[in-house]
């Protein structure tokens, strides 16, 4: 909570990462840091919802398949509570059908793991400029 406020002070846009995979939670913040963003990580959708970073988050990098609430379910949840954060989905599964579905629901991008740093940067930038 304190961290969130701190980051806001330095005016770096907050990007939140929700993924149950530890490698992603460890590696992405450093890369996002290199891009000049503040980053927070959460291991589940429930943890993210319970935090008070929701309103500060400018872009949400969201895993699709997770134990408990899935990524698309979180997307719906946010929509229903009218907190429409731009979402970049990431997924390790190769099911092509899922991409048009989440885009249809308003996601900015859906990246298949592993993705390149530039693809991620493009996606986050689109998200930040979407409003």
């Amino acid at each position: 909570m304190e961290l969130c406020q701190e980051r806001r002070v330095v005016e770096r846009p907050l990007v939140s990462v929700v993924d149950d995979d530890e490698s992603v939670r460890e590696s992405l913040p450093d890369l996002l840091g290199e891009f000049g963003f503040a980053a927070r990580t959460f291991s589940s959708a429930e943890e993210f919802l319970a935090s008070d970073c929701v309103d500060q988050t400018r872009c949400l990098i969201l895993d699709i398949a997770m134990p408990g609430m899935s990524g698309p379910q979180l997307q719906q949840e946010l929509k229903l509570s009218r907190r429409e954060i731009p979402i970049v989905f990431i997924t390790a599964s190769r099911e092509e059908a899922v991409r048009p579905q989440v885009l249809e629901q308003g996601a900015i991008e859906c990246l298949f793991k592993p993705f390149s740093d530039t693809a991620l940067l493009d996606a986050v930038n689109s998200a930040l400029h979407s409003k």
Partner: protein
């Protein structure tokens, strides 16, 4: 360009589906091993309607001797009211000869208006077994691939039906044969008793008659009593051929009273018209020359009753040794019954020979004391030994396969010693080198103090070939299942591998950026490089787990820690289970004895049980999706593994079908997993079963022995126990 590649990938998908369907259809015969035609047809129709999206498929079999005709119909959707399968088959058989637009009203009611395309598929070369009719409302039905699949299915069914009919025919003949042997044994025993009785009677009679001749005058009364009470007809005639005596048995047999015939010429009374002249000539010839053709012999001839009916008789005539002109006594017996029995016996022997020929079963008896062997004709044929040859063990030995000769002799000596029932199987080698498999069953018995074996030898060469083909098909099926579950796993594996790969790419990118910064962030770069290596190792672990699960081909027995094996499978499936929101609970027993088995095959079974449990809970939302995997020592030196879910469970009446291949409650997948799992466990001499829980859901368990017992091989070796055990 894109359109083209989409078309191509659509084509590939279509072909892939067609190949999958083809594999499913080709796998069917292995499931039909119990050979019950209705059951195999049910599974075929189910598979067809699902694979080809048919609206209607039916089968009708032409009836066999004592089987009711089989008619089965499947609709894609449930119809009400549902006419009987017979009515539908009847209607289909009519319309298949005419225009499909002139749809019989019965079918129009069921299928609705509009065109329906259908394909009749004859079963057997000329459709002699029956016909399958597949129908769909789609206008493009049947496409080329569908027509191919249908004809493959019809061929598979024809082969299986013929096999099933042959098998049931063999069983029927074998049981008839058994009955026949029992009946004949009984008949022979009865005949034997009768003969002994007759002999004793005759001896008594002759004894008494002999005495009487010496004491004629004193024993007139006694003689009369004997003659009167004799069972045979006794007639006496004088030298002119006139009747002087006619006992009560004769009165009864011929239908004359004694006083009617006394003094009448014998020829006119009991000899049929056609034989009278011959009789007179013979009688005159004897009187003139004393040369007799019939005296003192037992002859069979024909006699006539008072009512004119003729019947076969056995006759013995002797001359009465008295002074004066010759006189004769005739002992005469009605042998109608015996003749009929003889004919009956001849006919039943012919039946037996035919049955033995058809069922390739020969029978034999072996007197232990004398080594006298009597064989049926079919047995000579099986051994390819000349019918006239005297059967000896030496001769039989010359036909036995050299590798099986010592086994045969061992059994022979044991039978001689133990005098217990025998059952064994061995190979024969014919003079032309051909190999035959025979099955021998013999029963020991005492026949009036003589020890003998009575038994049957069946040529099971064809059955053997069938079993071998079956076993091969089965192993192919389990390979198909392995590939299928591999396909399903691929998605989950890609997921597992992509996770660390993603970490690697992100870390490496970050590392480059940190080193490229001014000033370079070396500490940060070092940390990201370290994480890159760790993620690389993670990916490699996933691959090596995968290799250990699918890399090996041949089943091998090794000592397996079931806990360890189960944990490996859990590690591979964990992400898939988590995605399905399954909560995995483990109760793995400490110090669990190791089991003997094929690690990979056992892991496939565990994987299958986990996936089933997960699928069964996919629609459960009112309780947590708990999956319990448990290991524990079982009685009789076994180890048990069970997987409990809280899913939708199954209907109690479905338990029997549960393990049949292609039985599935899921909308996707072939449902092949449980039947293959069961056959894997049975090959480990174990047992796989399912029990409904007290609460919701089901528990699947298997139990296998700890001590090595050898895998039941897929190749059937030449032992005397058939290796294809029928799964109950």
């Amino acid at each position: 360009m894109e359109v083209q590649s989409e078309l191509a990938s659509g084509e590939v998908r279509h072909l892939q589906r067609c190949i999958n369907d083809l594999i499913s259809l080709l796998g069917l015969p292995a499931i039909w091993r119990d050979g019950d035609p209705p059951q195999l047809l049910h599974s075929l129709l189910d598979a067809l309607i699902r694979l080809l999206h048919l609206d209607l498929v039916s089968v009708s079999l032409t009836d066999e001797v004592d089987e009711a005709p089989v008619e089965i119909v499947r609709f894609a959707e449930q119809r009400t009211p549902m006419p009987s399968a017979h009515e539908i088959c009847e209607a289909l058989s009519e319309c298949s000869k005419s225009d499909s637009r002139r749809w019989p009203p019965l079918l129009r009611n069921l299928m609705g208006e509009g065109d329906v395309s259908f394909v009749p598929l004859p079963l057997g070369l000329q459709g002699e077994l029956g016909v399958i009719v597949a129908a769909a409302r789609r206008t493009d039905f049947p496409r080329q691939t569908e027509a191919l699949l249908l004809s493959v299915a019809a061929n598979q069914a024809s082969i299986a039906l013929q096999g099933a009919r042959l098998l049931s025919h063999q069983k029927r003949v074998a049981s008839q044969l058994d009955q026949r042997v029992v009946q004949q044994t009984a008949e022979l025993a009865t005949a034997n008793e009768e003969l002994k009785l007759e002999l004793a009677e005759r001896r008594l009679l002759e004894e008494k008659l002999g005495q009487e001749e010496g004491e004629l005058k004193r024993s007139e009364a006694r003689k009369a009593a004997i003659v009167d009470s004799a069972l045979d007809c006794i007639l006496t005639i004088d030298h002119e051929g006139c009747i002087t005596e006619f006992n009560p048995a004769a009165e009864h047999t011929f239908g004359y009273r004694r006083d009617e015939v006394l003094g009448m010429p014998l020829a006119n009374v009991i000899i049929p018209l056609s034989l009278r002249e011959k009789h007179r000539e013979g009688f005159a010839h004897y009187l003139a020359t004393e040369e007799a053709r019939v005296l003192g012999k037992r002859i069979e001839t024909t006699a006539v009753r008072a009512d004119g009916s003729e019947f076969p008789v056995e006759l013995a005539i002797s001359r009465i040794k008295l002074e004066g002109p010759p006189a004769f006594t005739g002992y005469l017996r009605d042998i109608t019954e015996r003749k009929r029995a003889e004919q009956e016996l001849r006919r039943s022997e012919a039946f037996l020979a035919e049955a033995q020929h058809l069922s390739r079963i020969g029978s034999f008896s072996w007197r232990v004391a004398t080594d006298e062997i009597i064989c049926s004709e079919q047995l000579y044929r099986i051994f390819q030994i000349d019918r006239d040859a005297q059967m000896t063990f030496e001769l039989i030995g010359s036909r036995i396969h050299p590798e099986d000769l010592s086994k045969f002799q061992e059994h022979l000596e044991r039978s001689r010693r133990d005098r217990s029932d025998v059952e064994l199987e061995f190979r024969l080698q014919m003079p032309d080198g051909a190999i035959k498999y025979v099955h021998v069953a013999a029963h020991f018995r005492r026949d009036h103090g003589r020890l003998e074996y009575i038994g049957a030898v069946q040529d099971v060469t064809e059955r053997r070939a069938f079993e071998e083909a079956l076993s091969k098909a089965r192993s192919e099926l389990s390979q198909v299942a392995r590939v299928t579950s591999l396909g399903v796993l691929t998605a989950s594996i890609a997921h597992e591998v992509n996770q660390p790969l993603s970490g690697i790419v992100t870390n490496a990118s970050t590392c480059l950026r940190m080193l490229g910064a001014d000033p370079p962030n070396v500490d940060g770069a070092r940390e990201t490089a370290r994480r890159t290596i760790r993620d690389g190792n993670r990916a490699s672990e996933v691959i090596s787990r995968l290799r250990s699960l699918y890399g090996k081909k041949d089943p091998t027995i090794e000592s397996v820690d079931l806990n360890e094996a189960a944990l490996e499978v859990l590690a591979l499936s964990l992400s898939e289970l988590q995605r399905n929101r399954i909560i995995v609970l483990q109760e793995l027993a400490d110090g669990l004895p190791r089991v003997a088995g094929d690690r990979v095959q056992l892991q496939q079974v565990v994987l299958n049980l986990l996936r089933n449990a997960s699928d069964a809970m996919s629609t459960i939302d009112d309780r947590s999706r708990d999956l319990l995997i448990r290991t524990e020592p079982d009685r009789d030196d076994r180890v048990r593994l069970s997987v409990t879910d809280v899913g939708i469970g199954f209907e109690p009446q479905a338990v029997d079908k549960l393990f049949g291949a292609f039985y599935t409650t899921k909308t996707e997948g072939m449902g092949i997993g449980l039947s293959v799992s069961r056959s894997i466990i049975e090959r480990h001499h174990g047992r796989l079963w399912a029990t409904p829980n007290k609460g919701p859901g089901v528990t699947f368990s298997f139990s296998i022995p700890c001590r090595p017992q050898g895998l039941t091989s897929d190749d059937t070796p030449a032992t005397h126990t058939p290796s294809v055990s029928d799964a109950a």
